[in-house]
């Protein structure tokens, strides 16, 4: 059974064709990085316009690369939230139109669920129950997935998400948008031991990154004009503190609720240090799945997979949708 996925929640426009929720036949992604680069961040209005202009070409390409005809599609899955309202409306609107044209059912998909389902595309025999860490610009959530289409949040951040913290740190260090890859590169040339930063630690499974952010701000202020190497060292130290804090809680969660399968997914799961350290922390207690980079960024294949496995839901847009929806 083929599912057509459509993802437009933020600054990636993507269309995919997925077979049986497991096999990616095509997953075309257009990144709006260039469009927003001059603004230092995503401009919602520009993003929504660009989704509208890109989707027709991407749709054609996704079908062509999958070798699929519209009549082969049995389900359309579109992201309904969380995300930018205007952007979500474009994706779900086009999906509604295609659904009407092809007489194919449509389901609205939770973007967060999508990140967890990206792991199902990476490892075909992966099945719940799972323990997951979903880290992105807006989320740092520890979730249990007891069965398909059901998620329980067991840990989350009290303030900034991990990606948001990386964002702010990168700005302080003078890096431009998109900051994730830039910070990753900078940190690779630095040494965290030369500029220690505090490691935030809250009781239970909660995160907090705002204190760390303030510590970096004060350190930069105290240093005055930090040279290139010092900035790299600070980048490495900041990255290490965030990563170790994330993994400390994943470690604790794995002890509290033992699970044979662990998934680390989301945009921040592309981070080199996180990928290396997660494997060490999980060790042989569970099988760790970290989807390949193209499945960690926002993409439509994961939306198609989540749409395939989850219960059908109207494609009503909800910009602040949580794990429950």
């Amino acid at each position: 059974m083929l599912t057509l996925g459509i993802e437009t929640s933020c600054d990636e426009t993507s269309v995919a064709v997925v077979e049986d929720g497991r096999k990616t036949l095509s997953n075309v992604i257009h990144s709006q990085v260039q469009l927003h680069a001059g603004f230092g961040g995503v401009v919602p209005e520009l993003a929504a316009r660009d989704h509208l202009e890109r989707l027709p070409g991407l749709l054609e390409l996704a079908l062509e690369r999958a070798g699929a005809r519209p009549s082969d599609i049995e389900l359309i899955a579109a992201t309904r939230g969380p995300g930018l309202a205007g952007c979500l409306l474009v994706g779900t609107g086009i999906a509604e139109g295609l659904s009407a044209a092809w007489s194919v059912p449509l389901t609205g998909v939770n973007h967060l669920w999508g990140h967890m389902y990206s792991a199902m595309l990476a490892v075909p025999d992966l099945e719940p129950p799972l323990l997951g860490l979903v880290v992105s610009g807006a989320h740092s959530d520890l979730v249990r997935m007891p069965e398909h289409g059901r998620f329980e949040v067991i840990g989350r951040t009290r303030d900034d998400a991990a990606g948001e913290a990386f964002d702010k740190a990168a700005r302080m260090l003078g890096l431009g948008y998109p900051v994730g890859p830039a910070l990753d590169r900078l940190a690779r040339t630095g040494d965290a031991r030369r500029q220690r930063l505090p490691r935030p630690s809250l009781p239970g499974l909660e995160y907090s990154f705002s204190g760390l952010k303030t510590a970096l701000l004060y350190r930069l202020r105290d240093l005055g004009d930090a040279d290139e190497q010092t900035r790299a060292d600070l980048g490495a130290a900041f990255e290490e503190s965030v990563v170790e804090s994330l993994l400390e809680k994943l470690d604790a969660a794995l002890t509290q609720v033992p699970s044979k399968e662990v998934v680390v997914a989301g945009g921040v799961a592309a981070n080199t240090l996180l990928r290396r350290r997660a494997a060490e922390v999980v060790g042989d207690r569970a099988r760790l799945t970290m989807p390949p980079l193209e499945l960690c960024t926002d993409n439509a294949a994961m939306i198609a997979a989540a749409g395939h496995f989850g219960a059908r839901h109207p494609a009503t847009v909800d910009p602040s949708l949580g794990w429950g929806g």
């Binding site: 401009v43 919602p44 209005e45 520009l46 929504a48 316009r49 509208l52 202009e53 890109r54 989707l55 027709p56 070409g57 749709l59 519209p70 309202a85 205007g86 409306l89 474009v90 994706g91 779900t92 609107g93 086009i94 999906a95 509604e96 139109g97 295609l98 659904s99 009407a100 044209a101 092809w102």
Partner: protein
């Protein structure tokens, strides 16, 4: 059959036109822009084939515009039929046989407007030209503000239906490539920050 969709204003409308431009069906909802668009279209079409889809591209409501335009685009792409953009204010102007000031909802008490022979603009109720009666689908509060400012709203009974007006505008409208459909804004995107 030609399907026309306008969800850019304070009322939402769909119409089905025959190839000669006569109206086979139309529906105007009295409330906001988001209604069961897909269901409404399905019921109105009764399975009849579409030869093109026309969508009102604004200026108008932020949410409504996106809902209608992207649905229309998805439908046209799915059916492989042309998509035709129609300016919202031109449709409203075409509802009257006499010269009128076409208006549409811009939010925060402001309206988009188009006077005969002039450029479209964005204004507060008190700044609108008053030489012509006004035609357009506004929120009740916005319409009251216009009336309070001295603008005369054209009597609905003297106006063409939405479908008939859209058919007139369609006569001179051109189809565009699927990836060239643009929403008309007159407000800077920066204001949405």
């Amino acid at each position: 059959m030609i399907l026309v969709i306008d969800t850019s204003s304070a009322r939402s409308a769909i119409a089905l036109l025959r190839p000669d431009g006569s109206v086979a069906g139309e529906q105007v909802s009295q409330s906001g822009p988001v209604f069961g668009l897909a269901d409404g279209v399905r019921v109105m079409r009764e399975g009849r084939p579409l030869s093109r889809v026309a969508v009102a591209t604004g200026p108008g409501s932020f949410t409504g515009l996106r809902v209608g335009v992207s649905f229309g685009l998805g439908l046209a792409m799915g059916l492989k039929v042309p998509i035709v953009p129609l300016p919202t204010l031109a449709i409203q102007a075409a509802r009257s046989e006499e010269p009128v000031l076409a208006v549409s909802e811009a939010g925060r008490g402001r309206v988009y407007h188009l006077a005969p022979g002039r450029e479209a603009g964005l204004a507060e109720a008190g700044e609108l030209p008053q030489e012509w009666p006004a035609v357009g689908w506004l929120r009740p509060a916005t319409q009251e503000a216009l009336i309070a400012a001295g603008v005369r709203m054209q009597d609905e009974s003297r106006l063409r239906t939405f479908g008939a007006a859209a058919a007139l505008v369609l006569k001179t409208a051109r189809e565009v490539a699927y990836d060239s459909l643009r929403l008309e804004y007159m407000q800077s995107f920066a204001s949405k920050f």
